[in-house]
Amino acid sequence: MENQVIELAYALDTFYFLVMGAFVMWMAAGFAMLEAGLVRSKSTVEILTKNIALYSIASIMYMIMGYNIMYSGTDSSWWPFAIDILTNADNSAADVIASGGDTYYSGLSDFFFQVVFVATAMSIVSGAVAERMKLWSFLVFAIVMCGFIYPVQGFWKWGGGFLDAAGFLDFAGSGVVHLCGATAALAGVILLGARKGRYTSDGRVVAMPGCNMPLATLGTFILWLGWFGFNGGSELMVSNVGEANAVSLVFVNTNAAAAGGVVAALLTARLMFGKADLSMTLNGALAGLVSITAEPLTPTPLLATFIGAIGGIIVVLSIVTMDKFKLDDPVGAISVHGVCGVWGLIAVILSNGDAMIGTQLYGALVIFAWTFIVSGIFWMIIKMIMGLRVSEEAEMEGIDIHECGMEAYPEFVNK
């Protein structure tokens, strides 16, 4: 009887990883729709291509090498390289029962749950560099990011490396996923430059409105739904009363933070610009979600709402500030995932007594420094070998035609 319970718990927790992983996979659709809605129509096909391709590259590179870098189980706390590649061997029932339930999930379900996080980190980059980066240069970078840059810093925290040992806390990845992705994006944006005509020589910022607000909104709702998997799944277990309750609280807090982010961003934009700004409101939802991702378990739902709301205010201010520094980010990815990622790491101290502000900032700095420097190096290598930016003519006429040879809406006459 007890063996049956152990097996059942294993099956439930494995199922939990798989379903939560599938929710996070669905976030790829969310990013694709959000980005497609916030770029101009002449760049739509290219960004959709990037999104589906990067998800697939992430799946493959993480399987080939990334997963084993990140969870290599080596003794070194900073050098994570091991030799194994992913096989389809998994725990046998006998192994599980012999472990008394300590082995409580399928190894492959763990890989599946982890691989979708890599894709999330990588997709942050695609929005920031939209409308003017060469498609294939981006995809080459994706190979490096998913196979190497992300896994190494992921090892330092979730793989048991030195950040973990230092007491750095990051429940579901405000730092490891969101700050990492945003930092790679920032390095790219700096080397890439802004879209032509975006910042005039007399200091004006030129608006380039997104072409499809319904898609952007749909994308945001999809990301919100997927985030229940992102945070909920990161509890890593559901098969007893304590864990089931924990997961429930994580879901509630995740939702609360997003809601707080929306309301705060809506009001902030209203105060700053005189009218509600839907694109800022959408960013606010995501800012709230990123902000709670470092610690969705220990806050009360009310505190989670507050943490999300601060994220919603920060993201609006950050987006405007980025423009002041002439850093062109068409979808606000660096503000949502980077700036609010740091806030999320700091906010852990508000509810988790084990967190210390110094350690949280230390972790943020390490992730930022590693990702920024290594991404910067690879962006520069790619720039030298194949170029980063499309030609001015291609950018003006639309990279859909020039990079992808097709239009998103070929029948529409209205241009």
Partner: protein, 112 residues
Amino acid sequence: MKLITAIIKPFKLDDVREALSEIGVAGITATEVKGFGRQKGHTELYRGAEYVVDFLPKIKLEIAIDDALQQSVIDAITNAANTGKIGDGKIFVSDLAEVIRIRTGESGAEAL
């Protein structure tokens, strides 16, 4: 023969079409356009960056008619499309040198 080109507010399209049917106009071509006249533009903000909205959506109608219908078409459009507010639009009358019906090859007044 005359070619009447009218720029009207988009929501007036159905009213104008009905008015023209009533006076016997057989065919109309409508295009979505943007335009402005003497009304000034205004600025909006998108993510904190200003952009000027001066081109507003309009509908352009092109109607080929016999000379005899000219005044009644102008009156019909004017009455149906008028709101009294700025941006109601304009009507242009130009001479039409030739008209051909593609299906049958008819030309001139028979093709109208």
